[in-house]
Each structure stands twice: as structure tokens, then as C-alpha cells.
Amino acid sequence: MSRKALPRWGGRLTTCLTIAGLGLVLLPYFWMLSSSLKTGSEVFDLPIKWLPEAAQWGNYPDALSRGKFPTYFFNSAVVAFAVMTGNLIFCSMAGYGLSKFRFPCREACFRLILSTMMLPLEIILVPTFLVARQFGLVNNYGGLIVPLAVDAFGIFLMRQYIKDLPDSLIEAARLDGCSEFGIFWRIILPNCKPALGALALLTFRDNWDQFLWPLIVASKDVLKTFPLGLAQMEGIDSAAYHEIMAAAVVGMIPTALVFLLFQRAFVRGIALSGLKE
């Protein structure tokens, strides 16, 4: 092989690898979509059927009529939007306060906030439940939302972004007689749209997906979120995989849609993120 041929072969090899990897990454999603349109017996048919013989669109309404899926979706949407709004407001306020003001113990406050990243819900599960119970936040929407409404990661993200905004913007507004909150609302927020976008997408995804906390704090069926509903449906009839896959496809749509619409902000948010999974 000549020296010139080597890079070309290397290029082909990497292209093949890229495509093979893509197959591995996307195969489960393809299988989910395909199975959601099969009949119950076709799902495990041998030899393997990559596509259904005739698309069974009826699986979708059938799946969603098991359990209270409209309610579960509604609950997930309420939780995702409310928690997202809470994070956008409180995290950007705190980020602004921590980056553009001087006050005693500012660094200590920041460290204190950052250190809560060490306390994922998995660790403080029992006492968080006890605190929520003290506040009457059990088996209601407040309980699903309030304990999640601020996240240290969001504060970190917003602080990093606002820190780099020019001080002159703020000073000019202050000289014009703008109130402090007015400066935040009319000057700071519109100028950190990219960071807000990334934060919005990340919190939406994480909270649409919220499982552990609703599992603990909401035992009523009408308060269950989509992940709980799906797990419950699988627990009741684990043989109806065509319908389970149909429900899973529907539950996947909001996050996938959000990703496709805002993928730049999403990818940037992930790249900026510290502790997020």
C-alpha cells in the first residue's frame, strides 16, 4: 500500500465505524417503533421480522386506554413545566446575585450552594420525604414540584454565563433609574437567552423523566407521572410488549421533539453541564 492510499483507507474505516456505531445506538429505538406497530404475537416471531406485516395503529389507543395515561402525561407535563419555570427564575436570580453584586459571605453562599450537588435525592431520600411530609407536600402537586424547584447546577450554569455579561449594561440601566429587579428582568434575562435555553431544556428532560421522587411522594394514581404509569403498565401485563412499546413511543415524543427543535442549545447545555446525567 502506498503512503497516499493509507489515509484514504483510514478514512473509509472510520466512516464504516461511524455508521456501525450509529446502528448500535439507534437500533433499540428502531426496534421500539417497529414493535409498537406489530400484533401481540408478531413481536416475538421467528425468524425475526424487522417490520410489521401490517402497521397496527390501533396499538396506540389500546395502550393509552390501559391505566390513566392522559392523566399521567398531564402530570408529567405539569411537573416538567413547573419545575422548569422555578429553575429558570430562581437559578437566574441567584446566578445574577452571585456574579454581579458584592455582599458579605458571597463566596460562602456560592460554596454552600455548590455543595448541594453532593446531595442527590438518592442519598437524602428518607429525610427529604420526612421534610416534605412536615410541609404537607405529600400526595399533591406541590409535593411533586416544590422540592425540585431549585437545583444548584442551574445556579452554577447561570452564574458562569452572567459573570461574562458586561457591567456597563447594568450600570447604564441603573443610572437611568431602573429598579434592581427591573435591571434583572429587562436587562439580564434577555441577555442570557442561550444559557436560559440550555437550562430550560435540561430541566425539562430531567423532570419529564422524574421517577424516584414521584414514586415516594405520590401514591395516588391520579398523581402518577408518565414514567410511573409506564412501569406500572409493564408490571401488570408484561406480555403486552406491542402496547408497552406504543406507550413508550408516545412518552418519548416530548423530549425528542424538544431536542430536535433546540438541539444546539441542548448539546451546548450538556457540554456545559457539570454533574448532570
Binding site: L22, L26, Y29, I113, L260
Partner: protein, 319 residues
């Protein structure tokens, strides 16, 4: 005139609270402006701070306190010293959980470190359809965990896709999630599969922040692709690499959903990770004190890892 000033003077110490006060009112008194800004800054931070104190710090202190009490949610807590720690330590299931968590953590993280870097290197090259390929690779990051768990449970079914595909290369049918030897590896495979695109994005951002001039200079000096990788890419990517290492460990130690909905910690506890042990002790057996004691062990673990991570964040120039 004096009268009209008097109330204003009274209000002034609290001026920070009233952010509608126009700046003109304090003009000429720099000290009061500074004091006002100090209050304003603190007030911007206050709501978030109060929230975290209530739902993070207070529960943590409660967890520490509760770990010395016997508590079943129904009767009032009874102080019992180190009994919970003793009970947890003597519980063979706790030891099993600890090792299951350790195996899961490294089983997921080690492959992720290398494969995610490999993916980022692949995607960092110029190729036709680049943005579309990247989009497809990163799409799974947006997918919800429960959907992933359901699809994989379906595929791990004895009659499912995994066995069918392995059948093509002559592997017999395995009941992946109900066999002691294969249940944990099956969950680890899902963790790796899900983690690679996520950490790939972070690596890719790191790769793209390396200035092109360094590679050009290395090429002029006669460095081949491998030498450029070892002497340019690796050193400059080091903060990102260390960061991904800790982050993948941290997210793996928290895994809970997959063991719960896919295997219920079984078979024979071979997938009962520590968070699952805590959940079970607290909310299935109502032994809140013991659950809190086990939480403290998990916390010590996460605490160590997070300290390393914060240090790396700072070194990585984020700070």
C-alpha cells in the same frame, strides 16, 4: 422639607428591600448605594438559598441525626446510638449491595471513558453529512430513562432481540435478567450504551476547544497522527478527561431506576445497588434509621468523588 425627609431616612436601612426606589433618591450618598446593592445582591440569592437549605441541607442533617434513631414512620423515633450502623454493618445484604454498586460503577465507567473518547474523535473529523450524523448520535441523550429501561427489558426477553441477534453468531438463548451471572452485566451494558453519547458530547466540546494551530505546528515538526494524538490531544484534553472520569462514576453510583423496574434488585440481590438497598430498607421495611445509616455510607462515597470533581472544575478553567 425636613418632614418629608424624615420617613425616607427611616426607610433607608431597609432600602435594599424596596428595589423600586429610584437611584436618584440615593444619589450623592455612595455608601447608601453600596449598602443597597449589597442587600439587593443578597436578596437575589435568598430564595434559592432558602430552598436549598430546606430541601437539601436540612434533610442531610436529618439523615445524620436519624441514623442514630430507630424510626418506622408510625411511632416516634427512639435513640439507639450506633445500633443502626451495627445492624447495617452486620447485614450481609448491605455488603452485597456495596459490592454490586462498586462493580456497576466501574463496569459502566471504564468502558465509557474510552468508548466516548473514541466516539468524539470519530465525530470530530470532517465527513459528509457531519451535522446529521452528530444529531443522530446525540438524539439518545434526550430519551427518557424509563423508555430506555422498557425497550431493553423487551430486548433482553428470552425471546427478544438480543438473543435473536446473538443466535446469528451461534450463542444459545439466555434469560439475561433472571440469571445471576448475566443480570448485572446486562444492566451495565445499558449504562454504557446510554453514557457514550452523553460523554461523547463533552469530549467533543473539549476537542473543539483545542486550537488548530497546535496541530499545524506539530505537523510541521513532522509528527504523525499518533504522535499528534499523544502529544497534543491528550495533554490539552486532560481536564476534560478527568472531569468525565469522575462524572461517569458519580452518575453510575446513583443508578436506581433500571434495577428497580428491570430486575427488582434480583436475582438473589445480584443487582441490588446501594440506592436500591436504601429505598428498600426505608420504604419497604420502614427501617428509616437503618436506611439513613446506609445513606451516610453512600454519602461518604459521593462526597469524596465530588470533592475531586470540584477541584477539577476549577483547574479546568471553568472557575
Amino acid at each position: 422639607m425636613a418632614e418629608s425627609y424624615a420617613p425616607a431616612a427611616k426607610v433607608r436601612p431597609k432600602a435594599g428591600f424596596d428595589d423600586r426606589l429610584p437611584l436618584g433618591a440615593a444619589r450623592g450618598e455612595r455608601l447608601s448605594l453600596r449598602a443597597r446593592l449589597r442587600w439587593a445582591g443578597f436578596l437575589f440569592v435568598l430564595p434559592a438559598l432558602l430552598h436549598l437549605l430546606t430541601f437539601k441541607f436540612y434533610p442531610m442533617i436529618e439523615a445524620a441525626r436519624l441514623s442514630f434513631f430507630r424510626y418506622d414512620l408510625l411511632t416516634p423515633p427512639v435513640f439507639n446510638g450506633l445500633q443502626n450502623y451495627k445492624a447495617v454493618w452486620e447485614n450481609p445484604l448491605f455488603h452485597q449491595s456495596f459490592w454490586v454498586s462498586a462493580k456497576y460503577m466501574f463496569g459502566v465507567s471504564l468502558p465509557e471513558w474510552f468508548l466516548a473518547l473514541g466516539l468524539a474523535l470519530l465525530l470530530n473529523r470532517q465527513m459528509p453529512g457531519q451535522s446529521l450524523i452528530r444529531l443522530a448520535y446525540f438524539l439518545p441523550i434526550a430519551m427518557s430513562q424509563i423508555v430506555v429501561a422498557m425497550v431493553w427489558k423487551f430486548m433482553y426477553n428470552p425471546l427478544g432481540l438480543v438473543n435473536t441477534l446473538l443466535g446469528f453468531v451461534g450463542v444459545g438463548r439466555i434469560n439475561w435478567l433472571s440469571t445471576e451471572e448475566t443480570a448485572l452485566p446486562a444492566l451495565i451494558a445499558i449504562g454504557v450504551w446510554r453514557g457514550i453519547p452523553l460523554f461523547g458530547v463533552i469530549y467533543l466540546a473539549g476537542l473543539q476547544s483545542i486550537p488548530k494551530e497546535y496541530y499545524e505546528a506539530a505537523t510541521i515538526d513532522g509528527a504523525g497522527p499518533w504522535q499528534r494524538f499523544v502529544h497534543v490531544t491528550i495533554p490539552l484534553l486532560l481536564p476534560t478527561i478527568l472531569f468525565v472520569m469522575v462524572m461517569s462514576l458519580l452518575s453510575a453510583v446513583k443508578v436506581f431506576l433500571n434495577p428497580l423496574v428491570m430486575t427488582e434488585g434480583g436475582p438473589n440481590g445480584t443487582t441490588r445497588v446501594l440506592p436500591y438497598f436504601i429505598y428498600e430498607t426505608g420504604f419497604a421495611y420502614y427501617r428509616m434509621g437503618e436506611a439513613a445509616a446506609a445513606s451516610m455510607v453512600l454519602f461518604a462515597f459521593v462526597f469524596g468523588l465530588t470533592l475531586i470533581q470540584l477541584r477539577l472544575l476549577r483547574q479546568g478553567g471553568v472557575e
